[in-house]
């Protein structure tokens, strides 16, 4: 079994230095992600201005689209800008898994309690 608790030759280890070529590749990725984030934000604003807020299915679908696009943006920021994607898998899991367990539980409990407290179907309201 390979040990992964030693800082050996990870690309972001303290003693690791990037060459000019590596730097170029990383910068290219950064500019790509910048473009993606800007385009997604512009699309979100456009949708927010264009569509009416009401109880129709269209608006519900748009709300879910916003949430999915936001999660995409968050993924790009965390995995590329914070380069969690380049860290060891167990660090990634130690950060992401507890967060989703706790926040997932909080959302679940707010929806269930809210639905019984207010008598509303929060999910599709």
């Amino acid at each position: 079994m390979e040990r992964d608790d030693l800082i050996v030759n990870d690309s972001y280890a303290l003693n690791a230095h990037h060459s000019e070529e590596e730097g170029q590749a990383i910068r290219k990725k950064i500019y790509m992600v910048t473009l993606i984030l800007s385009v997604i934000t512009a699309v979100e604003v456009g949708m927010g201005v264009m569509f009416k807020r009401n109880d129709t299915f269209t608006w519900t679908a748009i709300k879910w689209t916003f949430i999915i696009l936001t999660l995409f943006k968050a993924g790009y920021i965390v995995m590329t800008f914070m380069h969690l994607g380049d860290e060891r898998k167990n660090l990634r899991n130690a950060v992401v898994v507890p967060y989703f367990i706790f926040i997932g539980y909080l959302i679940f409990i707010a929806l269930t309690e809210g639905a019984s407290h207010f008598g509303l179907d929060l999910m599709f309201h």
Partner: protein, 326 residues
């Protein structure tokens, strides 16, 4: 099981116990743990916001109606200013990641350049937020609550059955003088001329504000301006409950105070993070300037403050979606 690694590694990158869990330095891992807990705090705030909003029986203001002003410009630009703020923060996140990247190549001048731009971006965002807060606090004309039920006809013949306790909105000029009048300013007088309400301000630059129309549903879907007799019916049904802008006790935006309170708390708490991020960025900038990182032979401090800075951007992405868009 091969057990211990065969490769000899430098002692100074290991933790006290001679190991480095997750193969990262102690400081970086603790920064990640701090960010997880801070993300839970913001997650909790946004969930609480959604809970209040879903449970609210009165109409909840929508972002594109509330946030549509631009500095120096007249007219309506729904969400444009917030989108600009989002873009500023994304760009400052990019300059930060470029500073981190330069650090990994030991490019000191690159780190300094990109960190300087990040600090500029941070201050720009804070300035934008200050303007937005100022605009939100001052409001755009104010509102009053109806004291009794009144049915009015809109410009296209649509009928609005307004009930007591609902909000009606004034325009900017009229609202401004009305606020002074209600505050007991002796220079402002209120009169009725030919079916119009007129506010007159005496003083060095005497001027008048006429009530041309009153707006219904200003901050929710279906904004309509009513004029003439319908406007006067609404005016005559007014209560003494006027609101101008927003503070911690009162708000023109919504009948329920929680809307403004969440705005102040969520964007304020985020703004506080941006401010502390800028301060830490400045500290690290001067550390780089004083060649501290060269003596340490690595730029991990830049990477750690970078993690915090990206987190601030990450939070804003969610605030933008849940507070402004949805």
């Amino acid at each position: 099981m091969s057990g211990e690694a065969s490769k000899a590694i430098s002692k100074d990158v290991l933790w006290g116990g001679g190991r480095s869990p997750f193969s990262v330095s102690y400081g970086k891992m603790m920064m990640w743990y701090f960010l997880v807990s801070d993300a839970l705090t913001f997650g909790g705030l946004l969930v609480a916001y959604g809970f209040s909003r879903a449970g609210s029986t009165a109409a909840w203001p929508i972002g594109e109606q509330v946030f549509r002003a631009m500095p120096f410009l007249e007219g309506h630009y729904p969400l444009a200013y917030v989108a600009l703020m989002t873009f500023i923060l994304i760009v400052s996140s990019v300059t930060m990641v470029l500073a981190v990247e330069a650090g990994h190549r030991n490019d000191r001048s690159g780190v300094l350049k990109w960190m300087a731009w990040t600090i500029v971006g941070g201050f720009t965002f804070l300035g934008s937020q200050a303007w937005e807060w100022s605009h939100f606090i001052h409001g755009s004309g104010g509102s009053f609550l109806l004291a009794e039920d009144v049915t009015v006809t809109g410009p296209e013949g649509e009928v609005f059955e307004m009930t007591a306790g609902e909000s009606v909105f004034m325009d900017h000029h009229f609202g401004h003088l009305m606020e002074m009048y209600l505050a007991g300013d002796p220079a402002v007088t209120l009169s009725e001329e030919g079916g119009h309400i007129v506010l007159t301000e005496l003083g060095d630059h005497p001027h008048e504000a006429h009530l041309h129309g009153l707006t219904l549903n200003k901050y929710v879907e279906g904004e309509t301006m009513v004029e003439g007799d319908a406007m006067m019916d609404l005016w005559n049904a007014r209560s003494e409950n006027f609101s101008f802008g927003a503070n911690l006790h009162d708000s023109e935006y919504a009948v329920q105070q929680s809307y403004s309170n969440f705005f102040f708390f969520i964007t304020g708490f985020h703004g506080f993070h941006v401010f502390s991020g800028v301060v830490i960025n400045i500290v690290v900038f001067f550390m780089v300037l004083n060649r501290v990182m060269e003596r340490r032979k690595h730029y991990e401090m830049v990477e750690k403050v970078g993690l915090y800075w990206h987190f601030v951007d990450l939070v804003w992405v969610f605030v933008f979606t849940f507070f402004y868009l949805i």
